[in-house]
């Protein structure tokens, strides 16, 4: 069977571990990386389908599959998938985001054949019937309640994306709007499965203690006969340039204001993305970070500050998340953020400051590759989102090459008030009209 594979690429992903990409004639990708330090394997199947591939009115579809894919197949009765995995001591899980969905199996090395059989079975033969779909719909609505409706950070996050994007599918939440989750129809669910769950839309990533030749034979025997599907044209929706600050305020049962500030940022493959990653670290990614020191330590105006750059294919956001301290409010925090960003433009970081952020990035890079699951996630993400697993090291190289001048330039370019969206959660007014509770108020900013 080995001859049916086409070997495409190879790269080192750390000490003593080499990853190789192979492809079958039907388009299925396989990334193999042998790591014999423990008798286990990480077997992940990445599909190039996420919430961005949904349509208005049917949001949450990609995430619903994260649940349905553990259900009945033609060969497996309900519940059997989990029982087979758990009997080995292994674990199964899945994750959905804007650009991808992946299914994760962590298995004892001897049970790799079981994992490949299970994954190929559910790629081809998932049974989608009314009763199990309705049961999972209830579970997903409860998941949404737990993570969004009853979670202030979850609801802020959802509102930030909804306000920051007006055209691009990043504007709806991966879990979907509640009314859409409730309305997804069985025919649409079946059509989504037939469209996206196909070998030419998937990459299998296997990291751990196995024989590569045996893995190639195994995967070829289970997937070689699976016909590719006709993939829809990738939606290419450009988000219009943001030219005005957007602000939304939400009343919540909380003690102090919380705010999320999202600055429009490039996609992960843009060279400036790595520079902004360094900027995020310099602002709030370590105890000596500028914004953290200013807000938490010097002014004592915030109890927490975080900065994150989302690793999306298309332009997304650099997000600052702040919880204000007692006696302070979101407007004061915004003034402090503006002042710190202005200072970053006026007094660009020294070479030493940038080297500090790069050292932190180096530690983070290695931390992500410590175990087989982490290695598989990194390989799967870069292969699926950016088209090449070798970008694991490309991004690391870009981070290592960032200069103080780069930092000054991207701060001037991206961290501008007119390019940002602000979502603020504020303590509810106990005297407010109860009918008005939960309504957001919009403001046009500068």
């Amino acid at each position: 069977m080995k001859q049916s594979w086409h070997r495409e690429a190879e790269a080192s992903i750390g000490r003593g571990v080499t990853a190789r990409r192979f492809r079958l004639a039907n388009g299925l990708g396989l990334i193999s990386a042998i790591d014999r330090r423990a008798p286990i394997v990480a077997l992940q199947t990445w599909y190039r389908v996420g919430s961005r591939h949904e349509r208005v009115g049917a949001t949450g579809m990609a995430h619903l599959f994260e649940h349905l894919m553990f259900g009945q197949t033609e060969q497996l009765p309900p519940g059997e998938f989990d029982r087979l995995v758990e009997r080995t001591g292994g674990e199964s899980n899945a994750a959905t985001w804007v650009d991808w969905t992946y299914y994760r199996l962590s298995l004892p090395a001897r049970d790799l054949p079981l994992g490949v059989r299970l994954e190929s079975e559910r790629m081809q033969h998932l049974v989608l019937e009314h009763t199990p779909v309705e049961a999972e719909r209830d579970v997903v609505t409860n998941e949404r309640r737990e993570r969004v409706e009853d979670d202030v950070d979850g609801s802020l996050d959802e509102q930030l994306m909804a306000q920051a994007f007006t055209e691009h599918p990043y504007r709806w939440p991966t879990i979907g709007w509640m009314e859409d989750i409730r309305a997804l129809s069985l025919p649409d669910i079946r059509a989504f499965y037939r469209t996206w769950y196909a070998p030419n839309n998937a990459t299998i990533v296997c990291v751990g203690d196995f024989d590569e030749g045996a893995l190639l034979d195994l995967v070829a025997s289970h997937y070689g006969g699976v016909a590719p599907a006709e993939m829809p044209e990738a939606p290419h929706i450009l988000e219009p340039d943001q030219t005005r600050e957007r602000i939304v305020r939400l009343p919540k049962p909380i003690a102090t204001d919380r705010l999320l500030v999202g600055y429009k940022a490039p996609g992960q493959d843009d060279p400036d993305w790595a520079v902004l990653e360094i900027v995020a670290t310099l602002l709030a990614g370590c105890p000596s970070a500028r914004l953290y020191r200013r807000l938490v330590i010097e002014r004592e105006a915030a109890s927490s500050v975080d900065a994150q750059l989302t690793p999306f294919v298309d332009p997304s956001l650099l997000r600052l998340a702040v919880t204000t301290a007692r006696g302070h409010d979101a407007d004061e925090i915004l003034r402090e953020i503006d002042a710190e960003i202005a200072r970053m433009v006026e007094t660009p970081p020294s070479r030493g400051e940038v080297e500090k952020a790069k050292a932190i990035a180096e530690t983070d890079f290695w931390t992500a590759l410590v175990d087989v699951d982490g290695k598989a996630e990194a390989l799967g993400h870069y292969e699926t989102a950016l088209g090449d697993f070798r970008k694991v090291t490309t991004i690391a190289e870009r981070l290592a090459a960032v200069t103080a001048e780069d930092v000054a330039r991207v701060v001037r370019t991206y961290l501008r008030a007119e390019r940002r969206t602000i979502v603020i959660a504020q303590p509810e007014d106990p005297d407010a009209d109860p009918d008005a509770e939960g309504d957001a108020t919009d403001e046009a900013g500068a």
């Binding site: 001591g89 301290a325 500090k356 180096e362």
Partner: protein, 426 residues
């Protein structure tokens, strides 16, 4: 007396992790001054030797390193992460924190202002709030029922001198468990561990006497933590159970897995799969040095909070009385034995498990060897442990939800007398 030293070398990455556990922890806080261990640990991290807080942060960040303080019921732990080429320098900083913390007055005052805001953040988070109330109410008087974070009242009583005294008393080599893992060899690790303790006083390890009341004679009771606008109820149900490491631990590991430790478990199947009432449902015996809680958790829709509590209590009562079936025991044993390689796959995991075992005063390798103990267990052993260690008649229930919608159903759930408290009441 020397510290316990654990080394797990591995050249997989150019990283080294180290944990320095100071035995004692929040359960040893003086009564009425809850939060003192946390306060002392965090304060020590905010300046040591010649470096004030800002200089210390700058030094560590420049190495790409991290040094964080975590406080559990049983230990205050200083955890480090460093690129191996900077390990020497980072260990030196850690040694200064252990031996020469500055306990700056200004940082002491700042930390006293910061901590109540962490209380606010817990209040804003339904899951954390449910856990905090459950800890308080599960077994009144138990050392683990006292908050490691402190309360507004206890924080007001913390004095800088008390933090300094605590550090002097507890920072002695014999009270430490030091673990190193990663890109460091045995000999190098031994030298680094020696440097960490060389400036500490060689005084005796402090004795801590903790009381554990027996709460199993108490009746069921339920507390509704009233919070507006909830769509769900964050639910905790449980009671005081046995100590991790006692004779029942292997049997209870199987019992826990069958009831709520796997996706195939009874709770997950009954609550999530059959009824769709909650995204997740599970249970665990909390692992600690002293007997701790057996705890069930879920987040049920507000409209089904009462039925979810009622069903869970029925499941618990049935399980306590009859235990798992033979097939369930075999399945859970297979799962637990097969899962162990995942818990010891990396050097860091192996080190942290060994440090935890030492803090719990268990024999070396206790947790890693649990699969051997599971092999010899019979179904009867597991069923007997369920009868001994599960106490559905004394189950404490906490639900963070909106009383207006959920109170009547919770009163009818068979969970015992219901008390309503406001979510601000803490």
């Amino acid at each position: 007396m020397n510290p316990v030293i654990i080394v797990e070398p591995s050249p997989d990455t150019p990283l080294v992790w180290f944990d320095i556990a100071i035995r004692g922890g929040a359960s040893a806080d003086p009564r009425g001054i809850e939060g003192l261990h946390r306060h002392a640990g965090l304060l020590a991290r905010r300046g040591a030797g010649r470096r004030d807080r800002a200089e210390l942060d700058e030094t560590l960040d420049a190495f790409g390193a991290a040094l964080d303080v975590a406080v559990s019921r049983d230990a205050v732990t200083l955890s480090g992460l460093a690129l191996s080429r900077h390990l020497d320098a980072v260990i030196e900083v850690a040694a200064e924190i252990l031996a020469e913390p500055r306990f700056d007055e200004a940082e002491h005052e700042r930390l006293l202002r910061e901590t109540p805001q962490v209380l606010d953040e817990i209040r804003d988070d339904d899951s954390a709030l449910a856990t905090r109330w459950f800890d308080w109410l599960c077994c009144p008087g138990h050392a683990y029922g006292r908050t490691s974070l402190g309360t507004e009242a206890s924080l007001a009583k913390i004095e800088r001198a008390a933090a300094i005294d605590l550090w002097k008393r507890e920072l002695v080599p014999g009270n430490l468990v030091i673990g190193l893992a990663g890109d460091v060899d045995e000999a190098g690790a031994a030298k680094l561990a020696a440097r960490l303790v060389e400036r500490l006083p060689m005084t005796a390890r402090p004795e801590v006497a903790l009381t554990i009341p027996n709460s199993t004679a108490r009746a069921r009771r339920v507390t509704l933590v009233d919070k507006p606008d909830r769509t769900q109820a964050q639910i905790r149900i449980g009671h005081l159970s046995s100590r991790y490491g006692d004779a029942d631990t292997p049997a209870l590991a199987i019992a826990e897995a069958v009831l709520g430790g796997m996706f195939s478990s009874r709770l997950m199947q009954e609550i999530r799969v059959k009824r769709g009432w909650s995204y997740g449902a599970g249970c665990a015996l909390r692992r600690s040095r002293l007997p701790h809680w057996f705890e069930i958790w879920m987040a049920a829709g507000i409209d089904v909070a009462g039925p979810a509590v009622q069903l869970t209590l029925e499941l618990l009562a049935d399980y306590s009385a009859h235990g798992p079936t033979d097939d369930e025991v075999d399945f859970a044993r297979s799962y637990l034995v097969g899962a162990m390689p995942f818990h010891v796959a990396t050097s860091r995991q192996r080190m942290q498990l060994a440090v935890r075992d030492a803090v719990f005063e268990l024999p070396p390798g206790y947790t890693a060897k649990l699969p051997e103990a599971l092999a010899s267990l019979t179904s009867s052993d597991v069923r007997a442990a369920c009868k001994r260690c599960l106490a559905p008649e004394a189950a404490v229930t906490v639900a963070v939800t909106t009383a207006e919608q959920a109170q009547r159903a919770l009163e009818a759930a068979g969970a015992g007398a219901l008390t309503v408290v406001d979510h601000d009441e803490y």
